[in-house]
């Protein structure tokens, strides 16, 4: 069996099957618990505890394996399972090895931190808890009306203030890192903590502003309403322009990334800064200061580490819900699917949609890891410049522009046109960059005019 088939077909197939099974179990168990009003307990177990935590755990190894592939290395493969010692299983046994190591390592505590023992212990807890709590408002699949008459939605809580909850809780995560930096009673940890707090507070602003455009567009802050329902053609499930081909609906959906590409880039950058991962890993800065978790060992350090990966998963799920149309396919067949299976086999519809959501989330996790292994770290003043002088004005501009366009055209089509134009400009600039320079004096004297005209030709 060739590696290509293993990697490209069997492993993803296994992941898809596992996700389908997990979502099916979730809908069934939630259906059983609904009469007692405890359907959220099922989502808590299957999505928060299994999907989010397992993905985050696997990401710890995936980060090393995938970084190895981008850097032409093999990556971890030496940990083996007892009866499968001939197979590296993609390095997955390293998850168990790492967990064992973290849990059995000596838990040292710096003597100087004894005075702040409570704060020292609180550090990892406060770093992990808010990040994990974010997952509570994420809708992992569509609300489905079961045969028993109960409506089941794979979401732990659906408060009226959906996205605002995200902003509120995400900003609490700064306490964990700054407390860890302070209570460690170490210069380097304190530096890391201070860096973390200033960076995270700076990017909160851009994080919030980047979503205002979408809140205006869809007139809601609830995540399920933002994703919308294909049957009702609401939220991101509606089409900006659509037609019907062979009984299937085809069109350009009103996804957040189409309406608000600038907002997407801003949110992505700000969210990256919130996760404190490269290129925004100044608080950790492993080559200069070890960062706010310098004095932590064993599973306390592991908690910081895993909270970083949980944040990656949760932010991917958030971006999926807000910008990538949630559980909808998008460009083809959403309405036909909702009208078909959506009415005849509601549970299967829900399972497939929830799996689409999970796959989009996983792909975004991959993208975050690729970015982390591509970009060099910013200098500290560059971080602050990016946050305050670039992202903040751009976010404000985006809010005003989006507001004006929505005021002019409530059907969002103008917003879509401007959004597609922004994407085209970005693509044009990217594709014209890095071309082999044309020989001759004319090209070398006016390279900018040439580049801009080429970029303009693309849209």
């Amino acid at each position: 069996m060739s590696r290509t088939i293993k990697v490209a077909v069997i492993a993803p197939g296994f992941v898809v099957l596992a996700l389908l099974f997990l979502n099916w179990l979730n809908y069934r168990v939630a259906g059983l618990l609904s009469p007692h009003g405890l359907a959220w307990l099922s989502t808590l177990f299957f999505h928060l505890l299994l999907f989010v935590m397992l993905t985050a755990t696997v990401l710890t190894v995936a980060e090393r394996k995938w970084s190895a592939f981008t850097q032409d290395r093999i990556g971890p493969e030496r940990a083996r399972l007892p009866l499968l010692s001939n197979h590296s299983l993609g390095g997955l046994p390293h998850v168990a090895a790492d967990a064992l190591k973290m849990l059995t390592k000596e838990d040292t505590r710096p003597k100087a931190a004894e005075r702040d023992r409570v704060l020292f212990m609180l550090g990892p807890i406060l770093a992990f808890a808010p990040v994990y709590a974010l997952a509570a408002v994420i809708p992992f699949g569509p609300a489905v009306r079961l045969a028993s008459g109960y409506t089941v939605a794979p979401q732990v809580a659906n408060p009226n203030f959906g996205i605002l909850f995200v902003f509120a809780i995400a900003s609490l995560a700064v306490y964990g890192t700054s407390l860890a930096g302070w209570a460690s009673n170490s210069k380097f940890a304190l530096l890391g903590g201070v860096r973390a707090s200033s960076q995270m507070i700076s990017y909160e602003v851009a994080l919030g502003l980047s979503l205002v455009g979408l809140m205006i567009a869809f007139n809601t802050v609830q995540l399920p309403a933002l994703i919308g329902a294909a049957s009702a053609s609401s939220g991101q499930a509606q089409y900006l322009w659509s037609t019907t081909l062979f009984g299937m609906d085809v069109g350009i959906p009103a996804w957040g990334i189409v309406l608000q590409p600038a907002g997407f880039l801003l949110f992505f950058a700000a969210a990256f800064a919130e996760t404190k991962r490269a290129p925004f890993d100044l608080p950790e800065g492993e080559s200069e200061i070890i960062g706010y978790f310098l004095e932590y060992s064993g599973m306390k350090f592991g908690t910081f580490m895993i909270s970083e990966f949980v944040e990656v998963v949760v932010l991917s799920a958030l971006i999926t819900a807000i910008f990538l149309g949630g559980w909808h396919f998008g460009f083809i067949g959403d309405r036909a699917f909702a009208a078909g299976w959506g009415t005849s086999h509601p549970v299967l519809y829900g399972v497939v949609c929830a799996t689409v959501f999970a796959l989009k989330t996983i792909i975004l996790c991959w993208l975050q890891l690729m970015i982390r292994w591509t970009f060099p770290r910013f200098r500290y003043d560059q971080i602050m410049t990016l946050g305050w002088k670039i992202l903040l004005p751009l976010g404000l501009l985006n809010v005003f522009l989006s507001g004006a366009l929505i005021l002019l055209d409530p059907s969002l089509q103008w917003l879509g046109v401007v959004g597609l134009l922004e994407i085209a400009v970005l693509l044009g600039l990217t594709l014209t960059a890095g071309r082999k320079p044309a020989r001759g004096p004319s090209a070398s004297t006016t390279p900018d005019a040439h580049a801009l005209s080429t970029a303009a030709a693309h849209h």
């Binding site: 290509t4 592939f69 981008t70 032409d72 970005l426 900018d448 580049a451």
Partner: protein, 243 residues
Amino acid sequence: MAYYPATQDPTTDVRERSYVPELLRGLAVTTRHFFKNLLFPRDANPDVLNRKGNSHITTVSYPEEKVTYPPGYRGLHRLVPREDGKPRCVACYMCATICPAQCIYIEAGEYVSEDPSPESRVIEKYPTRFVIDELRCIVCGLCVDACPKDAIRMDTGRHTPSEYSRSGFVWDIPRLLQGPAVSHPSDPWHKRSGSERPAHPHPERHARIGDGLVQLKLPHGHPHGVRTEVTAGPIPVTKFLRD
């Protein structure tokens, strides 16, 4: 992929200034490497530069795959055996003397002249202990150059294997004596018996200094003598000084 900057002047080009297109291009490079290395099998050829296939991976999984050393590689020592399996070494201490790391220790044994074995006619000594501390060795190869009998070589093509203790790195004759035997026509043990003092029209050619066969040409024995200037007393220093 060759890298072409968007322009020669990064201060004016919007693609360089906005940073995003260049970021996306960088992402494209890493993504291409990622998928090639993920999807295609790795060629395990230890000759990394000649690896075939689409995978870019250059790793050599060491204990299973080993890079072969180049032909001239100075590796682990060996004591070269003779045809009969004994070391060629005659315990002359040249290698131990020249070794800058002082990692060679030799104890010599002497052939008794009454010994009926054929070597005793031609070789005086042999090593009873020949020890190299491989941790101290700096692999300079001077011992190989110094050896008059071609008895120590560094042609194993291996490096010193790892050990669990320091004492494991002290190699003695049983471990050092390895590899193919080497034999030269000029080796003393190849001389025919009775050829220690060959019948020769000019026996002084084979004589040694102390034998009395050769008259040493010493300066004072010369008929005319060597003219030497004899000065009485110390040389006056003022001779070399200017006033």
